[in-house]
Amino acid sequence: METFIQQLVNGIVLGAVYALVALGYTMVYGILGLINFAHGEVVMIGALVALAVIKPLAAAGVPLGLLLPLGLLVAVCVCMALGAAIERIAYRPLRNAPRLAPLITAIGVSIVLQYSAVLIWGRTYHAYPELLPVTPMEFGGARISVAQIVIVVLAGAVMAALLWLVHRTRLGRAMRATAENPAVARLMGVNVDRVITATFVIGSALGAVAGVLVSVNYSVAHYQMGFMLGLKAFTAAVLGGIGNLAGAMVGGLLLGLIEAFGAGYIGDLTGGVFGSNYRDVFAFLVLVGVLIFRPSGLLGERVAERA
């Protein structure tokens, strides 16, 4: 039972981060029908930029409570600019090209970003300073830290803000219209190019937040962290129904739970033959399963919800 509650907590924390990253994938896919392969690297850049801001500030004696907001702010701004630049350079010129061409440029961009990070920050694992108390509190048999609570709350708040933006603002309406049909949206006076840029910018901002949060959670950041995270977040987006905002959130949470429970119980279930080192397999098994049995994802049929 204790394992159960503990893995539930871990799963929710992990799932909140996956959901944030998955939103970036799903928004771009909803509008352009394109897998933004470079998104995981944007997440990584966000984490490392925040670290680069936090370290000197902490050394200069800025109070602990201000470090995380400042780091987040800078990371979000940098990643927004990065997202806009990626769209402008790598995707916009290829909007009418064969389908595989933007995929290759996306891969190229993600290689460039990864190794730019190596040039700037090196290949080492960077320890993240303890911004939030990670000493766990006993809570109904589970150990929960303040950091974990903040991650879930912050992720929830950001997602709520996104939903408000998409459903209640002019820009959100333009985004939904573009996702539905870009040509008609353009006829109705929507500036489609600007909407697409906005989509990349917002997705990258969410990615930056996710990058900082995941680094706070594991207290480590390095140049390859974006890759696996991005892959799993994409899985989450597909699981929920790609192109669907609520789907990405549900999918992220679900994937986090599946992974946490899978890793927690696989040893017992298989009598120790398979250990928790198989945890990464779960995400992909889920992905393959979903795509075979329900390719539109859990919430995929509600096309009107797309953004």
Partner: protein, 363 residues
């Protein structure tokens, strides 16, 4: 000159060029470049296999390296002391150690990889473009995770340490790992591998050309262009797509066996997603579905990073008097930039298929 003699002459010219290439490259740039040539040939085998899946049939496969891994591990397991060391029963069966012959292991690798390809294809063929890409990517990762972890409770793959002491490739009595003395002339091991790989590449090129013009090849292209129309014309799309998967995978299996014997060492390190992506980039950058284009893509993407590797450090030394930035990172960055720039200016690839070039011009 009649066209026939012209074709004959150009074939002879290319043949001569390919025959002396390793000696020229080795003489000018050092033995390391003969090794690069060997790898170019292995990559051509892989890329031509993937070209069947991606280029002809239009099925985007991001887990192709898994089939390469299957071929490599099959060869590794049956021609190294690994199995006899860990399984007494097998040691008792083969007191002299396991030394599978090449003529058996390569076809077996092709067959096993082909079966894996069909198994992967069967449940996923209903999926459309990008989804298929992600499932195959997931499959590739699963294979790698299993290679990494299948050392306990029974040690099959030896985990991340990989399998060592693999026999070098043998052709009859000739050990390709040792080199060969012909009339007092020593032909080094790297050169021997070059000729073996070249022969196989030529075989596969001929096979690819024949496939392209065959009934099956035309069916693949029809599916790529419009699956519904292809079905309406009486093509059994499911079987034909499965065949593309299996055929492409079997090329990968052969390349894997060669790789294992060539390196005499395999580990999961060599079969990561980035390798799948690299092979895909070769196909797309060169020109999907166009054999000369794909070969060009392989040459560019194998030689370019190597050139950056040898160039990045010394050029910095020359310019600044010291190595300022990590040359390895710089070379990967330049590689990424190359991908972006080439795709921006030539979205159909460096040397596209004539039909595709027409399509692009119509837009």
């Amino acid at each position: 000159m009649s066209p026939r003699t012209k074709a004959l002459l150009s074939t002879a010219g290319i043949g001569l060029l390919l025959a002396v290439l390793p000696f020229v490259a080795g003489g000018l740039f050092g033995a390391a470049w003969v090794r690069v040539l060997d790898f170019v040939l292995i990559y051509i085998l892989l890329a031509l296999g993937l070209n069947i899946v991606v280029g002809y049939a239009g099925l985007l496969d991001l887990g192709y390296v898994a089939f390469y891994a299957v071929g490599a591990y099959l060869y590794a397991l049956f021609s190294s002391p690994h199995l006899t060391e860990h399984f007494p029963a097998i040691a008792a069966m083969f007191p002299g150690g396991l030394h599978g012959p090449l003529w058996l292991l390569l076809p077996a690798g092709a067959l096993l990889a082909g079966v894996c390809g069909a198994l992967l294809g069967a449940p996923t063929l209903r999926l459309r473009g990008d989804y298929l890409a992600i499932v195959t990517l997931g499959f590739g990762e699963i294979v790698r995770i299993f290679m990494n972890n299948l050392y306990a409770p029974v040690n099959v793959t030896n985990g991340a340490q990989g399998i060592t002491q693999i026999d070098p490739l043998h052709l009859g009595p000739v050990n390709l790992g040792r080199g060969l003395e012909i009339g007092g002339l020593h032909v080094s091991s790297l050169h021997l591998y070059y000729y073996l790989f070249l022969a196989l590449v030529l075989l596969i090129v001929v096979l690819s050309i024949r496939l392209e013009d065959s009934r099956i090849g035309r069916a693949w292209v029809a599916i790529r262009e419009d699956e519904i129309a292809a079905k309406a014309c009486g093509i059994n799309t499911r079987n034909v797509k499965l065949l593309a998967f299996a055929m492409g995978a079997s090329f990968g299996g052969v390349a894997g066996g060669l790789f294992a014997g060539f390196q005499q060492f395999v580990s999961p390190e060599s079969f990561q997603l980035i390798d799948s992506i690299m092979i895909l980039c070769m196909v797309v950058l060169g020109g999907m579905g166009h054999i000369p284009g794909v070969i060009l893509g392989c040459i560019v993407l194998t030689v370019l990073p190597e050139a950056f590797r040898y160039g990045a450090g010394p050029i910095q030394n020359l310019l600044f008097g010291k190595v300022l930035v990590d040359p390895e990172a710089l070379r990967m960055m330049l590689f990424g930039l190359t991908l972006v720039v080439v795709m921006l200016y030539r979205p159909a690839g460096l040397w596209p298929e004539p039909r595709r070039r027409q399509e692009m011009a119509e837009r």
